[in-house]
Amino acid sequence: MAARGASVQRPNGASQGKICQFKLVLLGESAVGKSSLVLRFVKGQFHEYQESTIGAAFLTQTVCLDDTTVKFEIWDTAGQERYHSLAPMYYRGAQAAIIVYDITNQDTFNRAKSWVKELQRQANPNIVIALSGNKADLANKRMVEYEEAQAYAEENGLLFMETSAKTAMNVNDIFLAIAKKLPKTDPGARGPQQGAGTVQVNESQGGQKSGCCGGK
């Protein structure tokens, strides 16, 4: 949560720099390589793979950016169409999202576009959205043109990269780009921010009630 996300500056801890924790959701149709992408990022050269993590559904990874340590909590979502309606529960309160599509499959790109629309309409308004065209190593089977996706991303203010979980191309880069774009709140000016966070908590609770506990 925002309250714990951006750590508080303490007299004794100021020298260590800030630690910011962010929730990042992974969206995209099944079999576009969402989990491979994250596994590559988490297992990759950056840091040791954390043995304590279970499966590839929930993973954490830390990146260092200048004087700030950014800790990503990566929430994977089920990509099958039938679970689409559950997604709001996952991206609620998320500060970042990666929408993954498969460059060899036009349908997954269309689906990604609908995700973008949904996030812009329903998610946290400050959410940082990145679009990832995965399986870039299969360029000979390409169905989605780079220029097309690039233009779409620019139009909607998204970060965009073509990635390959197989060759690790752009995998770390896309996470770093997100980390750079995320607001690293200045501890001095946290008052109102935290207030906003509070509202969000209540909203999310209300949403949860209507989503999974209410309706009757």
Binding site: R10, G55, A78
Partner: protein, 529 residues
């Protein structure tokens, strides 16, 4: 009346036999039938009380002993003084209000008596009535509940939880003096304020109060200079301890409280899950090999963990149960994948695409008790940082999603046609195959053994067939062989020629005279050479 007559006839019949034990039976039968008879005269309660008072002398426990004392058709529980939860609730409410509000007493009495008069009425009807009652007189009914709750708070604070208090106290003492004083002052303040909440407060008000308290404490810790010496982890620990202490104190009051719909929601969800017992792993498209024993054991453990959720008090522990259960699901995937890797299948780590369907399956099979109450409790009273971050938060979100999915589940979400779905739901079609075996170990073993026997039988039949085949072939071969030989014999009949005498060269035969006489050696003189 006819019952009475039948009873009398039976008594007569047994009476003739005159055997002692049958006499006893006769007495019992007479008692039962008398009971039936009087029951029709509407003096049910009294008689029941009489027979109940006799019963403890017997070792046998009748099913009727387990029923709610109110005879509402539900089972009672010793924790509720022999009543069912609903009757107990109304009884305690009545007791609470009787001393304060006499007219309130009358309305509850009326409700109870209405219910007694129509014991076959379903719970839902009564619940509707109860809801209506609270609608027409919300302030009063809520007053009742808060009265009760507050007395419980008082009780818990005075009686139990000494251990808890000392634990929290010990933790606080490990901190510096000003922090200790500040925190205990704030907690005491909060608890006394919580007790003084307005009489018509809802569970949401309680939730807001607790959440506000968390928020205020967090802000306070961030700002107040006395906390600046604390490390980040110490602050988190302090928040944890605070939540633990508060929730231990308030659990009895705020978990599934009478001023919420939690109990009804629990029941309807339970019913819903029961009606979906036929859903299979395959229908949910979870890619796991459920035939494998190791996988099944992991799934069983996962079910056990999720059921344990209800036994925990603290949100933290409840979340730990969910995480543990999820961990077992990933274990199941790992085991399943290891097998397929050996078989040359693709190597993969389970992702959310795999996890969620299997988690749905687990919840459907486990049907965890009071699931809705638990979810509501965690959502309302856990500190927000738990729910939006960490493994606990992630898997809790997954569980909320699962419940949401189950509630909205229709034919489309299982890729079935409407007709198929309806026939499953109405029980016309029953799930077949492995999934139905997912009930208990014994049944599963039976299923496995049946399968094994079936396979063995098939093999045996195959062998028996091939043996028969072989026999047949052998006899055919023999016949053919015989025939061929016969033919050969016919073509070349065996004629025995007379035996020729043996020629003995040493025998002195008469030398035929026609032969010239043997050549005689001639002596040649030396001179001639």
């Amino acid at each position: 009346m006819s019952l009475h007559i039948v009873g009398g006839l039976l008594i007569k019949r047994f009476g003739k036999t005159g055997i002692r034990s049958v006499n006893l039976l006769r007495f019992r039968l007479a008692q039962e039938f008398l009971l039936c008879f009087i029951l029709t005269k509407n003096t049910f309660g009294k008689i029941i009380n009489k027979t109940m008072s006799k019963k403890p002398s017997r070792f046998h426990v009748d099913e009727s002993d387990l029923w709610c004392k109110n005879q509402c058709g539900f089972y009672g529980n010793t924790a509720w003084k022999g009543y069912c939860s609903v009757c107990y609730k109304s009884l305690t409410n009545r007791q609470q209000s009787s001393s304060h509000r006499v007219h309130q007493h009358a309305s509850v009495e009326k409700a109870v008596s209405q219910r007694q008069a129509t014991p076959e009425l379903s719970y839902s009807k009564f619940a509707d009535k109860r809801r209506q009652q609270s609608k027409t007189n919300p302030v009063k009914s809520l007053f009742k509940s808060t009265k009760k709750d507050k007395s419980e708070v008082d009780k818990t604070s005075s009686k139990g939880h000494h251990h808890l208090k000392s634990e929290f106290g010990a933790f606080l003492e490990s901190l510096s003096r000003p922090i200790y004083e500040d925190i205990s002052k704030r907690v005491q303040n909060f608890l006394s304020k919580f007790k003084l909440l307005p009489v018509n407060s809802t569970v949401e008000t309680w939730s807001d109060a607790v959440q506000d308290f968390y928020q205020i404490i967090t802000e306070h810790i961030n700002v107040d200079p006395i906390y600046q010496t604390l490390e980040e982890t110490a602050v988190e620990n302090l928040q944890d301890q605070l939540e633990m202490y508060l929730m231990n104190r308030l659990y009895n009051v705020v978990f599934c409280p009478p001023n919420s719909n939690d109990e009804q929601e629990d029941l309807s969800l339970q019913k819903r899950i029961r009606s979906l017992h036929w859903v299979t792993i395959q229908q949910l498209e979870a890619n796991v090999n459920d035939q494998d024993i190791g996988v099944r054991i992991a799934l069983d453990k996962s079910i056990a963990d999720i059921i344990e959720l209800d036994t925990k008090t603290l949100p933290k522990d409840k979340l730990a149960c969910i995480v543990e259960s999820s961990r077992k699901i990933f274990d199941a995937f790992r085991l399943s994948n290891e097998k397929s890797e050996v078989d040359g299948g693709p190597q993969s780590v389970a992702s959310a695409d795999d996890f969620l369907p299997l988690f749905i399956f687990i919840i459907l099979k486990a049907n965890p008790p009071r699931l809705k109450s638990n979810i509501n409790y965690i959502t309302r009273f856990a500190s927000p940082s738990r729910l939006n971050s960490g493994e606990g938060g992630y898997f809790f979100t997954n569980m909320c999603c699962v419940v949401d999915f189950i509630e909205k589940l229709n034919a489309e979400s299982l890729n079935l046609s409407e007709e198929e779905f309806d026939s499953y739901m109405s029980g016309r079609t029953t799930a077949e195959g492995v999934n139905t075996v997912y009930v208990c170990d014994g049944l599963r073993l039976i299923h496995e053994n049946n399968g094994m026997i079936r396979r063995l039988k098939e093999r045996q039949e195959k062998y028996a067939n091939s043996v028969l085949n072989l026999e047949h072939k052998l006899s055919e071969f023999r016949e053919q062989f015989d025939e061929q030989i016969n033919q050969l014999v016919l073509r070349a009949p065996l004629t025995l020629k007379p035996k020729r005498g043996k020629a003995d060269i040493d025998l002195d035969h008469d030398i035929p005279h026609s032969l010239p006489s043997p050549i005689l050696p001639q002596q040649i003189s030396n001179s001639q050479i």
